[in-house]
Amino acid sequence: MTSPSQPIIELRDVNKWFGAFHVLKDVTLEVAKGERVVVCGPSGSGKSTMIRCINRLEEHQGGRIVVDGVELADDVKAIEAVRRRVGMVFQSFNLFPHLTVLENLTLAPVRVAGVAPKDAEATAMALLERVRIPEQAGKFPGQLSGGQQQRVAIARALCLKPAVMLFDEPTSALDPEMVGEVLDVMSGLAAEGMTMICVTHEMGFARAVADTMVFMDEGRIVEVAPPAQFFDHPANERTKRFLGKIIGH
């Protein structure tokens, strides 16, 4: 649908309000195919809201959002089509507790994409191999550790073979010793050329993986830069202060 020069995700002057509260202010961002974007910024700056607008978990009120050539508007079918092209990983995993790990992975392919159950299972098992927990396929999410659950959630998001992956603080709810195993899986994905937008405060990961760093504050994108420049010579005062705080300690 998109020609190589066109961005796969395009936000243009996006504005959003929660009631009277202006969360997103003229947010403009382009993400090219294969680009890895890491978004950071203080709490409440609108990072989650921005990436949730990309698969329409939140509705924007002004501006345009185009994903893989489809503009997000009120058309329900278009929204569902975009959601099939965009995988999302949540901070709190959000696995379906009444289904086994394997069923979590095959649900959308079988029900949404009409894949034959056998093929969906084969794909699911391959993905579980890739996140290194094939032996957990028959268990229920409640029986897994946090790190394992988040890896299942990543595998689930990959099951529909998405063009873009969105991560909203995927490691914030994890015990420190489990953060590494999830970041490894994400680095692997990045290495394979997956287009990704990650909201994260894991700056080591960001520096290693990101093509572009985005810094948000008070609903605005304040700075966009490649990681080397972003970390070593941030242009904006607020970025400097923020980096000082989180890298400082």
Partner: protein, 347 residues
């Protein structure tokens, strides 16, 4: 553990418990012997007439021998009783199959429809050489089962729609659902049944009548659905927002998300209140007597109308109560089993 140490550990493990044990034994000693004497020793069993019972001086189980067909089948033509009997057997078989999780497949809906049609043919007759029987002649346990089972079976899906409607973001649907639920919950069942049976026909064009049983059935369904809807809504509210979002993010449509993700979790949480409502509905069928239908309780009452048997109403009502208890106890046990069964593996 041997019996004497078990008794020590459980009945006499403290002075207070010892006292309570002794008191309980004394009470049982007061109550049980006369009860056994009445219900078994001096009871009158087998065929006979009221005089037999009076002479025996104890419980009159003879009443049941003589009158059980009237109590069970009401005024359904006597020589046709095999038809409601078969209908009841079909109902019980249908419920037994539906209780098994392995059979929760789409074809089960078809099986329900088919069984209901067969039961309808059996009860009504008029085809296949069966003598036609007006619904005004239906009665007893088959009528209770027809109304209770069908009212529950129809109210349940309807209540899910109402509960979803009440949480809908579409103002019209939300207002309709809230209005319906509050209105129906605000009036007693008796008045809903009256409305269904007396008022409703007034709005119908001249010459069109709707069957009495059907009207009572509709009344029970509408009433039960409003209460069930609130139970279901309780379950929906307990599902974290993340579950809805994960379903959305995978591209599931609203109905797919509800059917595959939200409802299976929500309904599991509210099995106890749902089954509670089923049990209430089952027992409330005895109120259809006020619109002139002879359910199990009304048929029992009719059997006791016979002046000779009237003194033995206790035995009659005990028998009816035992039948209600069997069904309600089964539902209650089933719900406990189902809760455990569905919780297997998860969490």
């Amino acid at each position: 553990m041997n019996p004497s140490s078990w008794i020590k550990a459980n009945l006499f493990n403290s002075p207070v418990n010892s006292l309570l044990t002794v008191l309980a034994l004394a009470l049982l000693g007061q109550v049980v012997p006369p009860l056994v004497d009445w219900a078994v020793v001096r009871a009158s069993w087998g065929p006979g007439d009221p005089e037999t019972c009076r002479r025996a001086g104890g419980a009159c189980w003879t009443l049941l021998t003589e009158k059980h067909r009237l109590m069970l089948f009401g005024v359904y033509p006597y020589d046709q009783h095999w038809r409601p009997l078969l209908a009841m057997a079909l109902f019980v078989a249908l419920l037994a199959v539906s209780a098994n999780r392995r059979f929760w497949r789409p074809w089960l809906g078809g099986a329900w429809l088919l069984t209901v049609v067969v039961i309808g043919i059996l009860m009504w007759g008029g085809v296949l050489g069966l003598v036609p029987v007006e619904t005004s002649q239906w009665g007893g346990l088959p009528l209770t089962l027809v109304i209770a089972v069908l009212a529950i079976a129809m109210a349940f899906p309807f209540s899910i729609l109402l509960a979803l409607g009440r949480r809908s973001e579409l103002p019209a649907i939300k207002a309709l659902s809230v209005g319906y639920i509050e209105l129906v919950r605000g009036v007693p069942l008796v008045s809903v049944l009256f409305m269904a049976s007396v008022m409703f026909p007034l709005f119908l064009p001249e010459g069109i009548t709707i069957d009495k049983v059907l009207r009572a059935l509709v009344g029970m369904t509408l009433f039960t659905a409003a209460y069930l809807a609130e139970a279901v809504r309780g379950g929906l509210q307990a599902i974290p927002k993340g579950q809805f979002e994960a379903a959305d993010a995978l591209g599931l449509s609203y109905w797919q998300g509800m059917r595959l993700i939200v409802l299976p979790q929500a309904l599991r949480l509210v099995i106890p209140p749902i089954v509670n409502q089923f049990i209430t509905c089952f027992k409330d069928t005895s109120l259809v007597t006020i619109v002139g239908l002879y359910d199990l309780l009304a048929a029992t009452k009719a059997a006791l109308n016979d002046p000779g048997w009237r003194p033995f109403f206790v035995e009659g009502y005990l028998a009816a109560a035992a039948v209600y208890f069997c069904f309600c106890f089964f539902m209650s046990r089933y719900s406990q089993w189902l809760e455990r069964e569905l919780a297997k593996g998860t969490r």
